[in-house]
């Protein structure tokens, strides 16, 4: 295996080499407020350099194995509690061939039922992911009706004579396991699954700093993307594609090009969650000479904008008005502080939290951020070449503010886009899907030891699930 120059020079073990410049932990050393322990909990384990099997993305057989061995028994996000706030509210969650109805049966009880009529099997609810309040679930085919708590309400009198063999007490809708954490509603198709909190592990402690339960789902967009669900998700599992894929994010001098991102996997890669933290704007370590902070600030005002948390921020004022020793990241952090509530719990927000994109992943398919962005990626039926990509904005509200109704899902058409940056990712992953099929067999993929660790982590866990080692 070829070594980088840095590895050869210093005889670093594989996975120990890092990009030039300050690392996230160095930046935390410079914080002027107390650093939450979550940011210091920064594990990484080298998981080898073996090629990644491209069949994971393109093979129908592998896709079917995922259905049978992963989706059939893994905890997965079905909806948010705020999607169904009132008793009787329900929402449909579809995954591969399955469909479930999530319904609030009592003020603090949510149940999940198989979305299939017990008579002839028709889907009872077809308003996919659209919340609605109903007094009952009535099958549109022959009219058999269930109460929202799943118990049988009525077989229509005109056809009831034909079902003397039905025990009405036993004819309730079958339930699927449903458990909640911090405003999230998960389901698990496996009746013998471990408790959700055991599956999630210590990520629940991390998010005590950035809780979700009181956030507001302000937007929810979905799009059918021409790539495997894992490829679309992996666009957000490493950041070093930013320089080439999103040149408008790096703005050259300012960094923000994905360099110096910290990648974390936990419990030697066995934890069902991981994290990456992108470096905030600072002198780009990849320039052939060292840029000063003053030059960086001049650039920011000259260009009139800068990059923070995946977005371009307009800058007002001038560099001359700033106190001595000011840095771009401090400037951006102070601007973010003035922007209002951030929802952080326990201590003042650090500059890193305010200026870096911190992205967690929970296996297999959701990505909660301490910031407002949230992703979910699902397979599109059993088609390995397509997926459903969803982006939500989970906004923290000022203390005491009433939460507006959660946004309903907005399906984007083929010619509609999430936005400039995301569109570049969508175009990219569609080309990767095609390129993977164009590769000369066996076409194993060569991953970076450190910066691709989340990709390797995800596939390693996936293989264990598919092979029933978990």
């Amino acid at each position: 295996m070829a070594k980088t120059k840095q590895e050869m020079d210093s005889k670093l073990a594989p996975g120990e080499a890092r990009s030039r410049g300050k690392q996230i932990q160095d930046l935390l050393d410079e914080e002027t407020v107390e650093v939450p322990w979550q940011l210091r909990d920064a594990e990484y384990t080298y998981l080898g350099s073996e090629p990644l099997d491209r069949d994971h993305y393109i093979s129908q057989e592998w896709c079917d194995k995922e259905t049978e061995n992963l989706w059939s028994r893994v905890w997965q996000l079905a909806c948010f509690e705020q999607d169904i706030p009132e008793v009787g509210d329900h929402i449909v969650y579809d995954i591969v061939d399955w469909s479930f109805i999530l319904v609030r049966t009592e003020p603090d009880t949510i149940k999940a039922f198989y979305n299939s009529c017990l008579h002839r099997g028709r889907r009872l609810c077809t308003n996919e992911l659209e919340p609605a309040n109903k007094p009952e679930f009535r099958c549109p085919f022959h009219g058999i009706t269930w109460n929202v708590d799943g118990s049988l309400k009525a077989i229509p009198p005109s056809i009831e004579f034909d079902f003397p063999h039905v025990d009405k007490e036993e004819f309730g809708l079958p339930e699927v396991k449903c458990e909640r954490w911090d405003g999230f509603v998960f389901i698990n198709i496996d009746d013998d699954a471990e408790p959700l909190m055991d599956f999630l592990g210590d990520i629940t402690k991390h998010f005590e700093r950035w809780p979700f339960a009181n956030r507001w789902k302000a937007t929810h967009s979905a799009k059918i993307v021409d790539s495997n669900w894992k490829l679309a998700q992996e666009a957000f599992m490493e950041a070093f594609h930013v320089l080439a894929t999103h040149p408008q994010m790096s703005i050259g001098l300012l960094g923000g090009d994905g360099s110096n991102t910290e990648y974390n996997i936990y419990d030697n890669g066995d934890a069902n969650w991981s994290r990456m933290t992108m470096a905030p704007p600072m002198p780009n370590p990849n320039l052939p000479y060292e840029l000063t902070e003053q030059e960086l600030i001049e650039e920011m005002f000259f260009r009139g904008e800068s990059v923070s948390e995946m977005g371009v921020q307009k800058m007002a004022g001038s560099a001359e008005d700033l106190p001595e020793g000011m840095t771009t990241r401090k400037l951006l952090a102070d601007a973010a502080r003035k922007n209002g509530p951030n929802g952080f719990v326990g201590g003042e927000p650090t500059d890193v939290e305010l200026t870096s994109a911190i992205q967690y992943h929970i296996f297999p398919n959701i990505s909660p951020w301490p910031g407002p962005i949230f992703y979910r990626h699902r397979p599109y039926g059993r088609d390995p070449d397509k997926c459903i990509m969803e982006i939500m904005m989970m906004v923290s509200l000022p203390e005491g503010a009433e939460r507006p109704p959660a946004a309903k899902i907005n399906w984007l058409g083929p010619d509609e886009h999430f936005g400039n940056i995301f569109n570049q990712d969508v175009e990219n992953v569609a080309q990767v899907q095609r390129g993977l099929k164009a590769a000369k067999p066996p076409g194993g993929l060569t991953l970076g030891n450190y910066q691709d660790i989340k990709v390797r982590w995800h596939h390693r866990l996936l293989e264990k699930w598919v092979n029933r080692e978990i």
Binding site: I251, G252, N284, E295
Partner: protein, 101 residues
């Protein structure tokens, strides 16, 4: 003659030499990550005077500029890549980070 603000650095370019290459040959820094391939867009500068004294924008540079147009003031008007543009006369530009190497 190329004059670069705000530092006021100035240097001559040779025929068929890009502005970035001329700066480096004359002992000045010019921000780049890709080293002049026209891919990183880090070398982008604003033309203050003498726009007509720069070579025409070729398709490769046009595509690169288009990809970052949202981050350029004035919708990218007057912005060029120093690793692609060549001068055929006097030009005054603005680029942060150009100074004695």
């Amino acid at each position: 003659m190329i004059q670069v603000e705000p530092t006021g650095v100035s240097f001559e370019t040779k025929e068929d030499e890009t502005i970035m290459a001329a700066a480096i040959r004359n002992g000045y820094t010019w921000p780049t990550i890709c080293g002049g391939q026209g891919t990183c867009k880090t070398c982008v500068f604003l033309t203050l005077e003498g726009k007509g004294n720069l070579t025409e924008i070729e398709p490769w540079e046009a595509q690169a500029l288009e990809s970052i147009v949202d981050t350029l003031p004035n919708r990218g008007q007057g912005w060029r890549l120093a690793c692609q543009a060549k001068a055929i006369g006097d030009v005054r530009v603005k680029k942060i980070g150009v100074r004695q190497a």
